[in-house]
């Protein structure tokens, strides 16, 4: 028993060491975002002697962070809403309709998850241009719907299997139309997976870099990541500013993570087990 307890505290120590290594980069980034450049170069690990809030106000101005934040929110909300609605419908029906056709459609969706983005980017730009989706954050949201439904359908499809059929069957006996059955009976039951998929898609859209880079031209339409990237691309490397911008870009994600951690974790595990 004693060895077991000893073993357990050794494990705690090992885990703590891992945790320090894992957390350290985020810690020094936040820490130094509050320092002057000079202080950073002399003592990178110590606490800031005075809190340089100016780094943040400067970063806010240089990156047009507020308008970028607005754009990112619009793209995320529209993209997620579209993905959730379309994928829930499709995932539900594909799961409930046995047969070769639905299997085939389902596998088409799944197979496309293997396509590397780099092999579709120029044809994609061409297609979206034809549809006048280029250069607008609303167009960007539509593109995200097209690119994001496959994985969402996969998750909904798996979840629907766990819902007993009896519920819909009794509803349809009551004379409920298919669509009404879906919206009134099924959708509420899908809530847990809907939240999960929504968060996963949020993380994806919020953190995506290459697609907005190709689609958005006007700096006024920049997403957060594009604005931060612009700071990096500029001639002068002012670390304190860049660190502040990095922190600002990451904050919303960390907040979402703090609130929805359970769903995120569940979503990943869910998706994996169902696969």
């Amino acid at each position: 028993m004693r060895t077991a307890r000893l073993g357990s505290s050794v494990i705690t120590i090992v885990l703590s060491l891992f945790a320090i290594v894992s957390f350290f980069p985020l810690y020094v980034t936040v820490l130094n975002s509050f320092k002057t450049e000079k202080e950073m170069f002399s003592s990178i690990l110590s606490l800031p002697s005075t809190l340089q809030i100016e780094n943040y106000s400067q970063a806010l101005q240089k990156t047009q962070l507020l308008s970028s934040l607005g754009n990112t929110v619009i793209v995320s909300v529209l993209g997620i809403a579209g993905i959730l609605l379309f994928a829930a419908m499709a995932g539900y029906k594909l799961s409930r309709t046995p047969g070769k056709l639905s299997n085939f459609i389902f596998f088409l969706f799944i197979a496309s998850m293997l396509v590397p983005f780099h092999s579709i980017m120029i044809p994609l730009v061409k297609t979206t241009k034809t549809l006048s989706l280029q250069g607008s954050i609303y167009g960007l949201a539509v593109i995200y719907i097209g690119l994001g439904v496959n994985m969402a359908i996969f998750l909904f499809h798996g979840f629907v299997k766990s819902i007993p059929r009896e519920l819909e069957e009794s509803a349809s006996m009551d004379g409920c139309g298919q669509f009404r059955t879906f919206t009134t009976i099924i959708l509420p039951l899908l809530l847990p997976i809907t939240v999960t998929v929504g968060i996963l898609k949020f993380l994806w859209i919020w953190n995506d870099f290459l697609l907005p880079l190709l689609m958005i031209q006007d700096t006024n339409d920049y997403t957060l990541i594009l604005s931060t990237n612009k700071l990096f691309g500029e001639y002068t490397k002012e670390w304190s500013l860049i660190l502040a911008a990095l922190v600002l870009t990451a904050i919303p994600v960390v907040i979402i993570y703090a609130i929805f951690q359970k769903f995120i974790v569940a979503g990943i595990a869910e998706g994996a087990v169902k696969g």
Binding site: N103, F104, F107, L108, I110, A111, M121, I122, P123, V125, K126, T127, T128, K129, T130, L131, S132, Q134, G135, L213, L214, Q217, D218, T219, N229, K230, F232, G233, E234, Y235, T236, K237
Partner: protein
Amino acid sequence: MKKSLNILLSTVVAVLLLAGCAANKAENTGNQASEVTKAAPKEETLKIFIPQPQFKEQYDKFVADFVAKVKAEKNIDVKVQMEMPPNDQAPQILKTRLAANDVPDVFALHAINDLPTYYKAGYVEDLSNQPFVEKILDSVKSAVTIEDKVLAVPLETLNWGYLYNKKIFADLGLEPPATVTEMKAVIETLKKNDITPFQLTYKEVSPPQLFNSLTIGAMVNTDNQDFIDRMNSDKGSYEEIKTELFGIFDLVSANGNDRALEVSPADGAAAFAQGETAMWVMGPWYADTILKSNPDIQIGVAPLPINDNPNATMINMSVSTSLVVATDSKNKELAYDFVNFVLDDNETNDLYKSLKFNPIAKNHTFETYPWVNDALDYIKEGKAYKDPSMPPAVKAEVGKLLQAYYSNSISQDDVISGLDRAWKNANKINN
């Protein structure tokens, strides 16, 4: 087992289907070239593409002036969509836009590197009849002229070799050397005084690539005049200039700061500004960055020697960022107005001065910076040549290969054969 077979089979079917459909798809894609919905009358949109985000303030002000002028003179509300991606990402973004028929009305190209290719591909409008053409200085005009057509309004001209810290040189009684042997003496003096002679910034590919332009520029104006022509017809080899190229590259690299592959030009500019290093093989386009870090530094520009022939030690004269009008622009009149506005008598001095660019037009009367005058002195003595034109792909290759060479991953011969191959490939595409 059954499940995995199932997955396997269905995915194979899916892939086959995808591949099979490719043939049918063929005809459609080409014809889908789209029409942009026409803007309402009196409200026009002008798309401008200049990959210089570091000058956003200056350009924003200039654009605002342009919008006000058009409003006043033509009663048109112009909405200018200004796109300013980071410089290193600009080529692929522009390329993507063009491929997708989403052409900016006015866009920036490097006059020597990019203009010929884009002109050949039919993306660049002939501007010969525009009023601004008269104003450009003749020495600059030739760089934006192809087949007797003036194609662009030049913004940025560069007279360069390497930068040096004038104060360090003066304190130690040094003069910019005229030969490699003299350069070695300068290096010795600097080292004796505990100053790192050269700033190395090889993290990005553009700084090592400069050695190529300087070496070839000097050689084709002295000992090897038809080098580029022969390279363009697959008859030459970098073997011919190997001694000079590696002679100077090795000398500079051996006498610079450590960990050069991790130092970006931005980092290097700061170190150079603080006087940690005395020389930097770099052009005055970093002057602004250097001065931001240390406003008191005295920057000098001098030609880099590549061998012991003092006549080969010359300034490189180049025209880089230049604005062109797209052939496919939907709004050519406004685009013409914009490029003319760049050299507008009332505006142009403010614009060029605020950008710290060199004067390029007859109506440029603003006061120039000391380093500009340094270079002009060499040019007046005839110690200058026009930046040699070579395939952009080769230039990009030089940077990468010299990086790999510097990291001891490849040998000099690998660099030579790699460059020869890159040039041959470029010939294949261009012919």
